[in-house]
Symmetry: C2
Subunit: 357 residues, 2 copies
């Protein structure tokens, strides 16, 4: 490595200044491209930089310029959020492609004191912007309602959060997803359509419930709105969820399940109870887990491109950073994009019997 | 926010010095707790810090001390590595608990130039240590053989990599996992035991193959070593993998599959071919995916605690950082730990028929 001297110690600007016989301030001016240096001095300093293998610290330079090329990501991995998987991959790649590093911060308590502490840590590390990636649970994001975000020295973009005045949000249209999933089941002449939801305190789960309800109202089947059971997102809650739905409606003919994982549990329970899927009961999920095409039977689902959501959020954040600094948008982020993404229906055997897929 | 003045600009140490009527150097001494300041001056500077709401930059302070409290994580998300999921969650939590932030860096090409560029970026951002988290594929990690790691100003810990002199590695004993999985099938009187492996250029996949082979040799069944087919880790390769194994050995009575995802594809294909699992064919996976208990039938597997692996790797890295600085290990990292973790057998119906699980 040419960034350390023979003793393994980092070469500093002071070493360069000493060798060039100039002050540290003068050496710093050369590194930062200041005009207040003679050509001769500049040449001497640059030569010493070359000889010593000095690599100016990105952070030191950016601290001077007020930029760290680092974006903070606030996550809540305790709840197994989608940002832990594919979406995280999308975010890392997009950031890497634009020269940004991501700094991860865990957060599960959203009291004002915790929010202040989180923002304080982000400020101390001088991140250029923040992605609020953890899911909105109960009132976890209500601090955004009255926080003076405009006074923060960096912009913030929230993912999959409730719309709020003055807050940039990028996410999926989960209402439309619930509505379109239910419309698919209606198109197959199903008339007693239950819903196994995610946890009721999740914004995402609530919107899917509302979309399911809207489709039932459209179809003149408001009585089905009573067939709603709360699950945990996980496969474990699929079996008990189906049992409870069958208590509410013994001749249920379809169930829209708010995650593929829960749908796997529903399929297993249906098999145990001897219920034919899709003959007696059509089952569909949402997520398009890579494994869902291999369930028994293969699962109809709604695909959500979470890596793309993460990429869009990151590009949005970079545009807001540029806005603050009055800079043009970099290549790859030049256009504003829709911040509301949509799911796409994937039809497989669990609703349609033997289909080519 | 109390960290910006009314114009929204960050309050700087220069603002504090100006208000207190002292030099910037003196103000800096107060912030850094130097003794070379009179009590009266210290009190005045602290009062101005309070009034202005100045928050000293963590980075600025740590640049001075040569520490950034940031750890670099080199990943290769393009190959869907386990570090993208649960293990990443474990790493974020462990880092957060110790006051470290994680800085993510993508890397898929391991030429000397790319390695130099990656290390250069890590140096510029002055990370205190590096986790090499991407999987070892082909010769991707061979640069570690002759790279002067000791000359780097920060330590490095690799995850799930081939052992190399002078390189800290934390990972699973995948040889033992393959051996114990096969021993389980042998204990059930299976005698024609095939293997559907991960990609052959993966270090992890190779070790599992070797463990399977060792168990076959132990049992006096070396002829079974011909029943090995390469898969992709993914469910898609399970069906074709089983077909090929049955061509190699039409009366195969067991298959050890190197991922639960591929095992899902194997189960689906067995069902399609009318092969009874486990009656005719015992099937087992490795990973203990949360969904594998809900497969048809529920899958016997080997559980690997990847969050724990990530935590152990992070603690190991922090100890090596402390070693370099001659500091005591922080609470929670005080003890050296085994860097070789083991899998645990989870027996379900896919090998044992109707069992209580």
């Amino acid at each position: 490595m040419d960034t350390t001297n023979t003793a393994g110690r980092r070469v500093t600007l002071a070493d360069v200044a000493r060798m060039a016989g100039v002050s540290k301030q003068t050496a710093s001016r050369v590194v930062n491209g200041s005009a207040q240096v003679t050509d001769e001095t500049r040449a001497r300093v640059l030569q010493c930089i070359e000889v010593l293998g000095f690599r100016p610290s990105t952070l030191a330079r950016q601290l001077t310029a007020g930029r760290s090329l680092t974006l903070g990501v606030v996550n809540n991995t305790a709840v197994g959020h989608l940002m832990c998987g594919d979406a995280y991959v999308g975010m890392v790649r997009q950031a890497d492609g634009m020269g940004y590093a991501l700094l991860n911060k865990e957060m599960s308590d959203f009291s004002r004191a915790s929010v202040d502490a989180m923002l304080g840590q982000m400020l101390e590390r001088q991140v250029d912007g923040i992605i609020l990636a953890g899911p909105e649970i109960g009132n976890s994001h209500d601090w955004l309602d009255d926080y003076p975000l405009d006074d923060l020295p960096m912009p913030l973009v929230a993912i999959n959060a409730r719309p709020r005045a003055g807050v940039d949000v990028v996410g999926f249209d989960n209402f439309l997803a619930g509505q379109n999933a239910t419309r698919h089941l209606l198109s197959l002449q199903r008339r007693r359509i239950g819903h196994l939801s995610g946890p009721n305190n999740r914004w995402v789960a609530q919107r899917r419930i509302e979309g399911w309800q809207a489709a039932l109202d459209e179809a003149g089947l408001p009585e089905c709105k009573a067939y709603c059971v709360e699950g945990s997102w996980e496969a474990e809650s699929g079996g008990p969820g189906l049992q409870r739905l069958l208590e509410l409606c013994p001749d249920l003919d379809a169930v829209f399940v708010s995650s593929d994982r829960m749908a796997l549990g529903v399929l297993m329970e249906a098999q145990r109870l001897g219920i034919d899927v899709p003959g007696t009961l059509a089952v569909m999920g949402i997520d398009n887990d890579p494994q869902s095409a291999f369930f028994t039977p293969p699962l109809t689902t709604m695909t959500q491109d979470t890596p793309r959501m993460a990429e869009v959020a990151l590009r949005q954040l970079v545009r807001r950073i540029c806005d603050r600094h009055g800079e043009p948008y970099p290549a790859g982020c030049a256009q504003e994009e829709s911040s509301m993404l949509t799911h796409r229906l994937i039809v497989r055997q669990s609703t349609l019997g033997d289909v080519a897929n």
